[in-house]
């Protein structure tokens, strides 16, 4: 016992002392998809059969997360040579080099006396033969998927140098029933489609949910009082309230980055204008004043500017203005109509829906309108939402005469994937990283 402790200690020392001479193991998020990093994620060890089961499940979710990013290729467990049996024994790097694993992840689930589990993870650069930063957490046993997402974010951050996005949720609109009498309900799920649950009933049609930065509040549109109205939904209390008792209809809401305001469209008499409302004082400020349709507002992450769409030029185009409504300027000049601008959480890009020659696309451009890139195209692609690290965009896609489904695409445009949902689904909104 003492001997093994001593061995573990000197082993740990060896790693602490290891010089950082060798170049850091890195996946480039811009080009990693061309040559995904082979990574070995070993089923996490467990002190008893139940813990081993959880360990296998956690490793499976981590592998799936990393694969979906397209930056990593999870090596098939059948190819593993070394059988990891203890956390504190150094891996035989040669065994992992042979199967070309550039990174190795091992972990252990330890049941605690209070019914919780603790999770410890070690991450190795195989060819550099060094350990990268380890990760530990503890949680309730039924929260193992969350643990898998946290570990995935840790691995992603260590190997890409960017924030992860796996420990996040999606709020969206679940669609059922015939197209002429569609039932639309708010639904929440994990970023990978797991753990779905309904937030609203089938009595009123709801559209366009969006997260507050706190992740505990959403804003959305509901027809429950007849006309479309912006609502707030507190996920802690399940309390819903109308944003304001305006004449006409209110729609297209989004929170400000600090969560103190909601920017939205108010149409009192057939003219849609953009307003922002202070959630404490409930004072509203008019930001546009034009007979055209002005809608779809979205704040820059620093709160200083707002992008929106307007047809004041004769067709839908994207504009940027200061947060007080001044300095309105058109930024989209490509072919077709541009709609639903959404500012990236990194601030560097604006995602949009483009409609051109009877097809719909998701694309991105810089906030000055330059660098436009089209990422997808189909019969109907609409409503982009950003992963919190600004690398992946989720949206909904409808085939001709078919129901809507959720899809994601990364900024390379080459990693297009459907997100599994039990019903048809539209209007996704990606949460910030969970607290």
């Amino acid at each position: 016992m003492l001997k093994s402790l001593a061995a573990a200690f000197s082993f740990a020392l060896a790693f602490v002392a290891a010089p950082l001479a060798h170049a850091q193991l890195r996946v480039n998020v811009e080009e990693g998809h061309l040559n995904p990093m082979p990574i070995a994620v070993v089923d996490f060890l467990g002190a008893n059969p139940a813990a081993s089961q959880v360990g296998g499940d956690v490793a499976g979710v981590i592998r799936a997360n990393l694969e979906r990013s397209a930056l990593f290729r999870a090596i098939d467990r059948g190819a593993f040579i070394e059988r990891i049996q203890a956390m504190n024994v150094p891996p035989r790097f040669a065994d992992w080099k042979i199967i070309d694993a550039q990174a190795l992840v091992i972990g252990e689930i330890t049941p605690q006396p209070n019914g919780r589990i603790s999770v410890d993870v070690r991450l190795f650069d195989v060819f550099g033969e060094v350990e990268l930063r380890p990760f530990s957490t503890s949680t309730t046993a039924d929260n193992w998927r969350r643990v898998a997402h946290l570990v995935s974010d840790h691995i992603y951050e260590q190997l890409t140098g960017e924030r992860g996005y796996f420990d996040t949720r999606i709020v969206f609109v679940s669609e059922t029933g015939p197209r002429t009498r569609r039932v639309k309900r708010l639904m929440m799920m994990d970023q990978d489609g797991a753990n779905p649950f309904f937030l609203t009933g089938s009595d009123a049609m709801v559209l366009t949910p969006r997260f507050a930065p706190s992740t505990q509040m959403i804003t959305y549109l509901s027809f429950e009082t007849g006309a479309p109205r912006v609502f707030l939904f507190d996920l802690n209390t399940n309390r819903r309230e109308v944003l304001g008792d305006f004449p006409g209809m209110s729609f297209a809401p989004r929170f400000s980055p600090d969560g103190t305001r909601v920017v939205f469209t108010l149409d009192m008499s057939g003219n849609a204008e953009i307003y922002s409302m202070d959630l404490r004082s409930r004072a509203r400020t008019r930001l546009t004043n034009h007979p055209a349709i002005d809608t779809g507002p979205s704040y820059a992450p620093d709160g200083s500017r707002i992008t929106f769409e307007s047809d004041r030029s004769g067709s839908q185009q994207i504009y940027v203005m200061n947060a007080d409504g001044s300095g309105q300027r058109r930024i989209s000049f490509g072919e077709g109509r541009y709609a639903t601008p959404v500012w990236s959480p990194r601030g560097d890009l604006i995602a949009f829906t483009r409609q051109n020659s009877g097809r719909f696309s998701i694309g991105v451009m810089r906030p000055d309108g330059s660098g436009e890139r089209i990422l997808t195209e189909s019969y109907l692609d609409e409503a982009p939402t950003w992963s919190p690290n600004g690398r992946v965009i989720m949206f909904f896609r409808e085939g001709r005469g078919q129901g809507a489904r959720l899809w994601s695409v990364d900024l390379t445009g080459r990693n297009l994937r459907e997100i599994p949902t039990q019903t048809d689904a539209s209007d996704p909104a990606w949460s910030p990283l969970l607290p």
Partner: protein, 165 residues
């Protein structure tokens, strides 16, 4: 017109052939049939408005201006509404699926407002009319083709109260 009538009677004849012969009524109806009344819906009823006047007008792609046909229907609606001054209406603007959701909510509101404003110009009091937009959320025709889209771009005048029942 004559061709339409011929077609109609052909359809009616087909329908008659297809359906089984009417069974002899075994119970006497509790209310006598309104034999003295002319055929068609009751004057001043919701059905009367829908059938005799027309409750829906249609728009061009991404348009909210009123076509000559739409104006004719609205003129009939206005005349009918002047005749039944207790009737209150809700005008719902609708769009086809070939646009983004929030833009279509705004476009539907414009369509409803265009219909309301024309009715108001024809003497229908503003306080009898409300508008709403359903954007692209409530298609009349579920198909994805030009024919369906042209039908789904409409303003639908619904009677809320005050009609003869």
């Amino acid at each position: 017109m004559r061709r339409a009538l011929v077609a109609f009677s052909a359809v009616a004849a087909l329908a008659a052939c297809a359906s089984r012969p009417d069974p002899t009524p075994t119970t006497t109806p509790t209310t006598p049939p309104p034999a003295e009344r002319p055929q068609g819906p009751v004057a001043g009823s919701i059905e009367d408005f829908r059938v005799s006047v027309g409750d829906r007008i249609f728009y061009g792609y991404d348009r909210y201006d009123l076509t000559p046909e739409a104006r004719q229907v609205l003129e009939r609606q206005a005349a009918w509404l002047r005749q039944y001054p207790n009737v209150r209406i809700l005008i719902a603007g609708n769009c086809d699926e070939r646009g983004t959701r929030e833009y279509n909510l705004a476009l539907g509101a414009r369509r409803a407002a265009a219909a309301r404003d024309y009715l108001a110009s024809l003497g229908v009091a503003a306080n009898r009319m409300e508008t709403v937009s359903y954007g692209k959320e409530r298609p009349l025709d579920p198909r994805s083709n030009e024919e369906a889209w042209s039908v789904n771009r409409n303003a639908h005048t619904q009677i809320v109260s005050g009609a003869v029942s």
